[in-house]
Amino acid sequence: MSTPVDRRTVLKGSLVLAFSLMGPHALGAAPRPGGLPRSLRAHPRLDAWLEISADGVVTLKTGKVELGQGVLTALGQICADELDVDFSRLTLVSGDTVRSPDEGTTAGSMSMPESGTAVRHAAAEARALLLEMAGQHLGVKASRLRVKDGLITAPGGRSVTYWSLMGGKSLNREATGTVSPKPPGERRYIGRPVPRVDLPAKVMGEPVFVQDFRSDTLVHGRVVRAPSPGASLVEVDTARVEGLPGVLKVVRDGDFLAVIATREWLAIKAAASLAETARWREQEALPVDVHAWLLEQPTQDTVIEDTPRPTDEASARTVEARYRRPYQMHGAIGPSCAVAEWDGDVLTVHSHSQSIFDTTEAIARMLRLPTDKVHGRHLQGSGCYGHNGADDAAADAALLAHALPGRAVRVQWSREDEHACEPYGSAMVMKVRAGVSDRGDVLDWDYELWSMPHGTRPGGNPGNLLAGRSRASPFRMPVPRNGGPPSYAADRNAIPLYAFPGRKVTTHFVPRMPLRVSSMRALGAYGNVFAIESFMDELAHAAGADPVDFRLRQLQDARARAVILKAAERFGWSPAPRPPGRGRGIGFARYKNLASYCAVCVEVSVDPKTRAVRVLRAVLAADAGEVVNPDGLVNQLEGGLIQSLSWSLKEAVRYDARRVLSRDWSTYPILTFSEVPPVDVALIDRPGEPFLGAGEAAQGPTAAALANAVFDATGVRVRDLPLTPERLAASGKQG
């Protein structure tokens, strides 16, 4: 075994150092083009990813976390295939700041591209290393050995296992980038619908969620929230509440107000009493018409695409339209929760954060503790779909635990806390203008968008945590920035994939945020794809063209064309007249212009009297590169489609000049069982191609397909989300 190498040295590292490490165990193949996959480059030691114990347990460690998307199952499939062990032999450790490799945030449909690719290469390298060791042990060339579930057999039948070779030692070698993963034909698990590893415990009611965490020292904390954004606490009578039954402590630190009690119900009642005595200074500063407000703000302008048309013939016509999306919420079914315990030396924080590493660092800084004295552990929570209250709840619990040593303090946000205090998906305005040819095809495309931030995750900064901002000595919230290429944030998917000859795309970024906003599934792509694909439909209609043909004739990317054709075929897309009040629409995007391709067709009926939209059925076709778990992928894509239908039909955060008014499910309704249509998902598998990530691919295309179907059914073009009956009636009047 080579000498252990300090990871940081390599991270800082020169190529020289990295290559010098290849020497002892380069295994013949050429280095992987582009070097190691990103996560493996950051954590090149194989024991950062894999442990093989003497008793035959294989532990796979990942920095990505389970959010209900099935990532742990898929990563296990990749590992089992490349390492040649049975899937059932695997134990997974994820999102533990002490044990897991730091892979940043579990977001952006990046878990399969990042962790999946890293695990594949780490496991392939570990297998090669074990074969080399077995070759020496058995006196046979490694290339003549066969492996089945960790049992390595030589010609003639002599054998040795991974576990005996390792003898409990660690895989303290660096990845070399010289081992090729298996060809697609040799895989056992990839491409198969392996059942989710986390579901049985959930279905049987075992304690798997952070909400279910119990310990002998468990106590319950509740935070009393400010009634409106920016409100400050003027006075509160803590003495009255300190005397209530079960109350252990009232904590006031600036605008942060909370109570800890022995039982959860007592904490809830004590918090309600505290809220009654608290007096807050509120502001009337919320822009009730946020779209008008957006257009009036000072903006940071960036031209992210500017390709003049090579020819200069005049366009036949110019067409323009403006689209809008409202504030929308993640709306987890289980409000955020965290448990923290301070033993006087180490603070342990259990959280369902998507960014456990960064959030743990932010908490350490908030409490002025050394980073290595705060241990973050991811435990599953309710699905989050982006940056919701998880990180703030972790900070709440940490602050309270730090104030009450020796107790595990569980903080459960209320439904109202989650609805009113989670960071929303930003409202946006999108304007598009196109010069078109005689035939109606786009010659010049000019697109502008206005948006507030889509990324205010903790990022190691306590100013991004509600508790950090509320303390008497507050941490200032850093000025948010927009994300740049290639993924972008507000302007994600703002650059069209179509082969328009002239194209200009401008981002008007508004860093201010009257209501807190951050990353919500697909970020700006939801609004941008809605606008682009709605406008394509308008142009197709103006050109007298079929919407599918119109897209195909301006699209060169073969994989994009394939998903559109696949969706149209499965849907039974046809020019035949639709019955009155019925319509069909299509929407398409390649998420981030670099991840999964996704096309959605929906059929709707619109009630002529009530203007209520009913989605009758939906078809989705996707190309996510190589498919690891087809059932998991179908589940996630269908879920994204249904969630986007809910956003696009019903959802907008309600508020007045002072307060958020959407404070429960009656004031922020979402799609229910009787409104959910049948969904047919078709996958185009590309074995051997990179994993593309698909968790957010359906959000934009679904919104556009819906609006286009409503237009097809009624002749009414709705450019403002959501497509409520009131909005249909109003748009109809405008003509």
């Binding site: 959930k202 279905v203 049987m204 709306g331 289980g334 409000p335 589940n635 959910v676």
Partner: protein
């Protein structure tokens, strides 16, 4: 106040303030995980349990009022020998769930439905579950799982 609750076939004496909703007695006093906190106002169904076989939102009903009832949580759905209930098997067979935080409530609402109507139509299932919210979009799989369980139970 001290009173007796019958949960999953066993009597438990608990001592809690008389306004304590059943949810907190189940989770904090009896250590059961099946009923989940979702909204606290009876809107989402995550906390659904059975009371004498019909569904009950445990977050809004004080436990002290339920002394005479047979209460069943997700933990009580399985057979006495620990074998999963046909609904639990069907949810796994259909992989019905993503984050699955809502699933315990779905299972209990489905158990109440099948008790009342052993072979419900798809529309009846959707109506019966309309006030159980799912945010991941697993609705269609949940409906299929309930249909599968109904077919299994009818054998």
């Amino acid at each position: 106040m001290s009173f007796t609750l019958k949960v999953n076939g066993r009597a438990h004496t608990v001592d809690v303030p008389e306004d304590t909703p059943l949810l907190y007695v189940l989770r904090d006093e009896l250590g059961l995980n099946g009923a989940k906190y979702g909204c606290g106002v009876g809107q989402c169904g995550a906390c659904t349990v059975l009371s004498n076989g019909t569904s009950l939102r445990s977050c809004v009903v004080p436990a002290a009022r339920l002394g005479g009832r047979e209460l069943t949580t997700l933990e009580g759905l399985r057979a006495p020998d620990g074998a999963p209930h046909p609904l639990q098997k069907a949810f796994l067979a259909e992989q019905a769930g993503q984050c699955a935080y809502c699933i315990p409530g779905m299972l209990m609402a489905a158990a109440a439905l099948l008790r009342e109507k052993p072979r419900p139509s798809e529309a009846e299932i959707r109506t019966a579950l309309d006030a159980n919210l799912c945010r991941c979009g697993s609705h269609n799989r949940i409906v299929r799982a309930i249909q599968r369980a109904a077919a299994e139970l009818a054998k």
